[in-house]
Symmetry: C2
Subunit: 421 residues, 2 copies
């Protein structure tokens, strides 16, 4: 037990969060859903208050020379507040995962053992400048019975305070502990680093943001981390691919939304179909302003490609750029992809069932596709209703994380005086 005469703000927040988790764990589904709907309504009713705070953040960010892409992420509008509210209403409509009986078995000695789904406890979320994460992350954590401790970026601090104030005040009206959501208002790096060591209060940490943020959390946290959202996603055009399927899938996966983790970043092409596939594929990529970085075999057919370096094959561009690599066989394709993938989503285009089976079995990624766009790796597209992120690690959860992935389990063991021999 830690005892300090003068406790920091962070320490106090940790204690409040840990104390609140016992109330959250036993909240009824009805009470949680009613609160989510009330908060959705309050966010809309108090939209002006939130927009005024957001205007402060925007003014400071503009004065600091923030670029237009980041300013857009930071900006709230009436429509975006409506979308936040609608997100909470949707979460209220999802089934409550808590209390689900996962297994039940009796032992020969008469013990009744039940494996039950329970909340993780306290979830820490470290994120950057998107104020909508404040409401989204709260909604998912709250519905799954978890307290959430939020640490947003300094750029969005006024917006985050406004949103979390509306949530906390509405929780109080609903007779629920306000500490279901705790916002850390110190946005400096030292506070973030101290947060990552608060194992006594926080059960899991989920970073949401760019590769730099995620790396910093993985390297510094002593709390278990769920790594999300780095996607060097591949599409492999097999020797038995239907090229008329391949091209629309590749264009969709690469260009439908370029800045997302499930976008395609690399093409792997069997040498037997280079002649057949490349002219039309090159044309389609060019028409969509995609820069191609390719090896020699591809460049022999598409001379306008940039020469790919080894580094290109490991990159998540999040841009109108794609790398292209020629292979001699499906085995070589699988080895190349397993070497360079971030374990997010990889696809094969083939009409050959045996090749499809090999690819599905051997590619070591969260989501492995046959004849479909990698863009489907998404909680909504999987039917989970919402997601907190896409896990790229092996432990606990892999791929799209919905409400169930924000839970743990416990065993209850009921006896009648049993002792161990």
């Amino acid at each position: 037990m830690r005892k300090e005469i003068s406790m920091s703000n962070l320490e106090k927040i940790g204690q409040r969060a840990a104390a609140a988790k016992f109330e959250l764990q036993t909240l009824s589904t009805e009470k949680k859903n009613k609160a989510l709907r009330a908060i959705a309504e309050a966010l809309q009713k108090r939209g002006n208050e939130i927009l005024e705070s957001n205007a402060k953040d925007l003014k400071i960010a503009e004065a600091n020379g923030m670029n237009s892409g980041l300013l857009d992420r930071l900006r709230l509008t009436k429509e975006r507040i409506d979308a936040m509210a609608e997100g909470l209403v949707q979460i209220a409509q999802l089934p409550d995962p808590i209390g689900e009986v996962l297994e039940r078995f009796d032992r020969p000695n008469g013990l009744h053992i039940t494996k039950l789904r329970v909340p993780l406890g306290v979830i820490g979320i470290i994120y950057e400048s998107r104020p909508n994460v404040t409401a989204d992350a709260f909604g998912l954590c709250f519905k799954s019975g978890n307290v959430v401790v939020l640490k947003g970026g300094s750029d969005a601090i006024h917006s985050n305070i406004a949103v979390s104030t509306v949530i906390r005040e509405t929780l109080a009206i609903e007779g629920i502990t306000q500490d279901a959501v705790c916002l850390i208002t110190d946005t400096d790096r030292q506070t973030a680093n101290a947060l990552m060591k608060m194992n006594q209060y926080i059960d899991v940490l989920i970073p949401r943001g760019g590769a730099g943020l995620i790396k910093a959390v993985v390297e510094n946290s002593t709390i278990p981390v769920i790594e999300t959202g780095t996607g060097n996603c591949h599409i492999y055009i097999d020797e038995d691919a239907d090229i008329s399927k391949a091209i629309p899938i590749i264009i969709n996966a690469k260009t439908q939304r370029i800045g997302v983790c499930n976008a395609c970043e690399s093409l792997v092409i069997n040498e037997k179909v280079l002649d057949k596939a490349l002219p039309a594929l090159g044309e389609a990529l060019r028409a969509n302003n995609v820069e191609m970085r390719a090896d020699e075999s591809v460049r022999a057919i598409l001379p306008d490609c940039v020469s790919a370096t080894e580094e290109d094959y490991g990159r998540e561009y999040l841009d109108y750029i794609i790398s292209m690599k020629t292979v001699a066989s499906i085995e070589e394709a699988i080895a190349h992809i397993n070497h360079y993938t971030t374990g997010h989503s990889d696809a094969i285009i083939t009409e050959n069932d045996e090749h499809a089976r090999m690819f599905l079995e051997r590619i070591d990624s969260a989501c492995v596709y046959v004849n479909a766009s990698t863009r489907f790796t998404d909680g909504f597209e999987f039917g989970f209703g919402a997601e907190i992120g896409i896990s790229t690690q092996k432990l606990h959860a892999r791929g799209p994380m919905g409400l169930k992935e924000l839970t743990a389990y416990k065993y209850t063991i009921e006896g009648n005086g049993q002792i161990r021999e």
Copy 2:
């Protein structure tokens, strides 16, 4: 991708392990079981070779003044080698978790999604001076399709080399990559620290040993860790307890085996049953040589108790010592236990169904008991057939970890040209 002109031994081991995981992931159940049985036989056949190496370790340890308890952990005998072999045969008899279909669902756009159980990949095990862990950990990781990287203590290095050599040579005879088990023979602390940062090769790290080892791994590892085996387990004697059940359960949980993580370390007693419970309980504990460290209310009835400090309530003694705390209500008992528990196993003794329900629902531990000994928190006792440890964290696995808990899952998504709108 890391590139260094001169790679260390550790780096080479990491690369070999990561390369081997693709073979392990697709090994058939038959091939795995046949290899496990062959290794069991080889361990027995080559027992003398192992005992000779163990004798070297024992000689060095004795010369270094190792105490008798630790020497006993380090010592192998013919019987202990037989037990290691028997453990592998038992693992061969367990169902193979790999390939199990966990969920299967179709989406409105025609995508077929399957959630499949797959190996974690490469599991690192850091352990102390028990050479039997070398065979046990290999057996569980191998059957669940994982490569295991082992880092044992320097005291057991000759024994660990001998055991892993038998395993590797038998794997080669069975036509399976020897790198299914990789032993790190550098036993210094720098190597251990470097191992804990090898995220590019190792998927999960499981420390097996004392609290100091586990703390060091949690604090230094950037690889996801599964924390195991710290148990400050409580038994609460409710106001509606059947004392004739309580006493045998407490004696069993405290004294059947004192050095284990599921032993009881602390009693919590409702003040309404102090007079009824304590005289017989005190006598039974005294008869088993258990030192009692208690608060004032208990000491008023059992004057031979030592006075408990606040620190006592947080301790895992692993010894013939128990702490005792009086509470006024079940609510106070639950709050006390949730504050001091390590989240391993806690029990209530009661005939009151409502109190049992409250306790099961509100105690935030991996295993929560009614009227049974905490000693049942064990993979064999749960019917899992074997265990790699007892997880005390929330992420991934909680409580006894058998073969299933050494697996991850992946999604396969089969389409026919689907793209995202």
